[in-house]
Symmetry: C2
């Protein structure tokens, strides 16, 4: 398929879902997944939280969603789920559960057929590339599709124009990602050389960027590198976690472009005063030409995520620990 | 004051707030605080999530709340805040911000006068004792007061009878806490001897217990003991974090009595199969006589929290690292 056709196919799936939104009342959005797929829900929650006075959003781990059994889940709920291969059993169960409560279920996945698809009202297939590699279609990658679905929701239901800004801005992601690959590979090697022997590396962020810090901590560092980690919220940092900081303790601080940036700046000031071993990844360093001013805060996490993936590849190489190595995942029963 | 008078004074404050609930529409509850005060909000969110079809609840760090500026915050919102000494600047700002949006603001604190009190419509003073010491009035300690306010909300607004079960059950907490002090001090010493040299200790829980795991990780281990930590959600564990587990990696697993217990049991099974160094604290081991069957899941986190505080005192003693030692908190500008 040509690039234009690939993009149109995904947008056709999105458009069909926006039509489905119109057919019902929606006052509640549940963003339901596990691990890395859950992490990618955070920016969309941030968007809905900020932008809507009548629709509220929750992020839940799939099993937590089922066992917690939220009282507000019902016919006026939209449940968006995600599983890369559509085979995460808890997430398929969560889709079934949501449907049993009358909710509209929409699932994101990379594959075209999967158990999760069978249990969902609608699906969208996103584009994907392995860590560090350029996605041929970043504007329909997972985070971007999720924004299409959530900004699209407020567009359809409340006339929120951010969706139009999103569609105008997403085509510029390709250039941003390419420049990251070009400009951040060498710094990634330096990071890898400097941090390869660390047994703990903390990540830190706030607002729309927190999910990226969470994803890097649990999926890259803990899962793929067996390095101890924790995603610390940049505001919570000052109420306990900062006491762990000394000149040797490694931190990665993400600095985004959204309204919560003052919290990340406050953390940076403290790291500079009391730490020594920290990496700052600042979305301000990127060229955002063409991206709508109001979209920068929402799209910064996508760029920061790709920088971290470039760094992850270099870290794995420097440590001789392939990102694919697992002790348990898909290898033992759990 | 006699015990009866102390309890009545707190309940009078609560009753006044329940009256204030009646005077307005409330469809949204924001639970706003920092660090340990934020951790104590989680069980009340779990309660509202499960029990109400029309009122939804959010937990936000105070600055995240302000900068995120939720669109659903307004005249129909109840904002409950907490700061132990009522002097956390972000939380005082958050109260001011919430009031500027027309919300009803209720603040919990240990002290009677404080900046946070000045910016709140109502306050409640909770009872408190240092880590590991018996609170003379556990039924009006912070978590219990919060339940009075949130279960009281659904009682007043929706006729939910859990509030009556709560009031009938809380007097039994005193006996439970005393038996914990008696029965868990020796195991706490064993734990301390076995874990005192660890540089990382993870905590894990789900549902109403997750906040307790978070509190122990960030306030006790990171802040008061400078031990690396992270509160891992027992459902998320299997989607990344579990890869960090080997025979040497220390975990503390909390097992509560709520509907999410199957997730904690799944984590236990995995720890038994693939780990060796883990502590399990199971609320089932306690004598819940007198506590309403439907309250056990909600009150288990309070008991687990106290067990962990008893253990914290022993850990600090074994490590010769007083719980009061700080590098930065209240000592340097931040």
């Amino acid at each position: 398929m040509s690039v234009a056709n690939v993009l149109q196919t995904a947008q056709d799936q999105v458009n069909q879902i926006l039509e489905a939104y119109k057919a019902r009342t929606i006052n509640r959005v549940f963003l339901v997944a596990c691990g890395g797929s859950s992490a990618l829900m955070y920016p969309s929650k941030y968007f809905i939280d900020r932008e809507s006075a009548s629709i509220s959003a929750e992020v839940f781990n799939s099993n937590e969603f089922i066992y917690r059994n939220p009282g507000t889940l019902g016919e006026n709920s939209l449940v968006i789920l995600c599983s890369h291969k559509g085979k995460t059993p808890e997430t398929t169960e969560a889709a079934k559960f949501a449907k049993s409560k009358g909710a509209l279920t929409v699932s994101l996945m990379y594959v075209e057929t999967a158990p999760l698809a069978d249990e969902s009202d609608y699906i969208v297939n996103y584009s994907w590339a392995p860590p560090g590699e350029l996605d041929p279609h970043p504007e329909i990658a997972n985070y971007a599709i999720l924004y299409r679905l959530t900004m699209g929701l407020l567009y359809v239901k409340e006339g929120n124009k951010k969706y139009e800004q999103l569609l105008a801005s997403l085509p510029h992601l390709d250039g941003i990602m390419k420049s990251i690959k070009t400009n951040y590979t060498a710094p990634g090697k330096e990071f890898a050389a400097a941090y390869k022997d660390e047994s703990v590396i903390y990540t830190m962020a706030s607002g729309s960027n927190y999910g990226i810090a969470y994803s890097f901590a649990i999926c890259i560092l803990m899962e793929m590198q067996w390095i101890n980690s924790h995603a610390i919220h940049a505001g919570e940092f000052f109420h306990g976690p900062f006491e762990i900081l000394d000149k040797q303790m490694p931190f990665i601080l993400l600095m985004g472009l959204d309204e919560t940036r003052p919290m990340e700046e406050r953390a940076l000031k403290f790291l500079k005063e009391h730490g020594e071993k920290f990496l700052v990844l600042d979305a301000k360093e990127l060229d955002w030409t063409g991206v709508d001013e109001e979209m920068k805060g929402y799209l910064a996490p996508l760029a920061l995520n790709f920088i971290l993936r470039v760094y992850a590849v270099e870290l794995a190489a420097a440590r001789n620990h392939p990102l694919e190595d697992r002790r348990y995942m898909f290898k033992v029963p759990y």
